[in-house]
């Protein structure tokens, strides 16, 4: 056992199903006590990776180390790892109590010890009063808690959660995010959870790995992933973004992205961050909240904004605390901007002539990966 190493170390893991490479040379570290998310669209390999951690799938090559010991080939029932299933997988013929006690009984603990621990964990999830009930008499939220209790009662070194909130309705899902986070702090076990919901990953995880097509594209804190994506896929998958493509032109500290219609300025730092060179096909990513809108008639200056363009406001949407704007630029490109409600431009109506622009350092530069870029330049994300 290594004291300082990562709790879980995944090293060059490959898993194929027939001709499909589900997990393609993935390496990841998860630390002690960490809340870690595997985030990606369906079919990206995140669930397969989780199932390899649980022992339900065996990697074709690579290593999965838990506290320095290789888990590959260790049967699921011998791993100090427990899993919470997406369907919860509660045993329908057993009471809540017996579901939770199942794993402890397999460990042949004595009766008092089992009883004490089952009660303790049921109390923790607030279900002690329902111990004698059968799973099919419980609500979705209660089932979820039983599944969680059953998975943590054995105090595993790592808890795996497969889409833990997917089966709940939206309101409950948002509540349970905080609840799960609280529980994780309380038990101090490392949680690795799989989700396709970027909002869920951002709100719950200490760190997340964004996966696509069997590969990990980027690992980082939610803030890093949102603010400094290193690929167009991550930029598009996490949050919403405006994307402008072109080829990179570096002249000393003067860096521009030359597109079909015009060139956009980028900070020199941004180009260095992802190691892009002169001539590379690149994309600038600007989050909607960083795109500023100034009505042409307001007479306000666009000073301080490094890249500006004019266009027409074609759509506004009021979202309570936010306001969304869609602007069609004069070259036909559509962009999206977002402001806090109560902003001075609340009264802007569709058809208004506007200028849009952003501060130089808000433009994030990423390689223009052809596969992830579906519609070329312009608006992407959830529209």
């Amino acid at each position: 056992m290594s004291g300082n190493g990562p709790l879980v170390a995944i090293r060059n893991v490959v898993k194929r199903f027939g001709s499909i490479v589900a997990v393609n040379n993935v390496s990841l570290d998860v630390q002690q006590g960490e809340f870690f998310a595997l985030l990606g669209p369906s079919g990206c390999g995140k669930t397969t990776l989780l199932r390899m951690l649980a022992g339900f799938e065996t990697p074709d090559s690579g290593e999965i180390l838990l506290e320095g010991e290789d888990l590959v080939g260790v049967k699921p029932w011998k791993r100090p790892v427990n899993m919470m299933f997406q369907s919860y997988a509660l045993f329908p013929h057993m009471t809540v109590y017996n579901n939770v006690a199942y794993g402890l009984r397999e460990d042949r603990l004595d009766k008092q010890e089992i009883d004490r621990r089952v009660r303790e964990v049921l109390e923790m999830v607030g279900l002690l009063g329902l111990a004698r009930r059968k799973p099919d008499t419980l609500s979705g939220g209660q089932k979820q808690r039983v599944a969680l209790a059953r998975a943590i009662v054995k105090q595993p070194k790592v808890l795996l959660l497969d889409e833990p909130l997917a089966a709940l309705d939206r309101k409950l899902r948002v509540e349970m995010r905080l609840e799960l986070k609280r529980l994780q702090h309380e038990v101090g076990i490392a949680f690795i959870f799989v989700t396709h919901d970027q909002e869920e990953a951002l709100t719950m995880a200490d760190r997340a790995a964004v996966m696509n097509a069997g590969q990990v594209l980027q690992v980082g804190t939610p803030q890093e992933l949102y603010e400094l994506p290193t690929s167009l896929f991550v930029a598009n998958f996490i949050g919403e973004s405006n994307v402008f493509t072109g080829s990179l032109k570096v002249a000393g500290d003067d860096v521009t992205v030359v597109g079909a219609e015009r060139a956009w300025r980028v900070s020199a730092e941004a180009s260095r961050r992802v190691g892009l060179k002169d001539g590379d096909a690149v994309a600038i990513v600007i989050r909607p909240e960083h795109l500023q809108i100034i009505p042409a008639a307001s007479g306000q200056e666009t000073n301080g904004l490094s890249n500006t363009a004019t266009g027409m406001l074609i759509e506004t949407a009021y979202l309570g605390s936010m306001r969304h704007y869609i602007v069609e630029l004069d070259d036909g490109t559509r962009v999206m901007a977002q402001t806090q409600a109560g902003h001075i431009f609340d009264s802007l109506t569709e058809g208004t002539r506007v200028s849009v622009g952003w501060e130089l350092e808000r433009g994030v530069l990423v390689p223009a990966d052809d596969e992830a870029l579906i519609e070329g330049a312009g608006l992407s994300g959830a529209l």
């Binding site: 339900f56 899993m83 299933f85 997406q86 997988a89 045993f91 199942y102 397999e106």
Partner: protein
Amino acid sequence: MRSKFLKRVRALDVHLVLVYLFLYGPIVMLIVLSFNELGLPTAWGGFSLKWYGELARNTALLNAGINSLIVAGGSTLVSAVIGTLLAIGLERAVRSTLLDAFVFVPMIIPDIVLAIALLSFYSLLKMRLGLYSIMLSHIVFNIAFVAAIVRTRLSYFDPSLEEASMDLGATQIKTFLKITLPLILPGIMAGALLAFTISFDEFVIAFFTAGPGQPTLPIQIYSMVRFGVTPDVNALSTIILFISITSILVAQRLSGMRGVL
């Protein structure tokens, strides 16, 4: 609108009653006759349990009944075990639809074909015929019935239940005994009851593969019928009918597949 709706319901009701009369009229007649003092279909001599008493004294018929119970019971037990394992194997391991289809063939092919095939097979092996040869023959098609019913049960079975059990520390065998088996048990019971019912009154295959002097109930009744039906057969039929109906109802309830059985 309302009266039109009512009219349609009435027309359907009449239809329903006629269909049920057609289906169950003769059977009801049989039940009534079994309580007829005279034992004749032509005249009612008053209610009596006389023929049930006669039945109790008819040793040939009773022995045949015991033979049928042995054949049905034995073939049911064996086919419940093999059929269940087969269903699990088909559901989990086999990816061939052809192999899949062949399992259910014994359920569908005409009894007479299966009977001839089995008889030729037994004589090829120079096997002596007896109750066990009938039992063996019944196992052939009963496996298919049990497998079919257990499979429908298995297709509703969430495989992550087994994974959860293994994840919590139970080995594969323990998982099967503590999770899989209890959950598919209703399906196995339903399959077994169906198998028993089919086997108990199966005639064609039993007739071909029976040994001398050990008839099953249907064979015995058949041979009696040739010399004229004695009224105690009505009594026996009524008893069998009630056993069959009860077990079908129980099987239906257990398997939760109304309309399939």
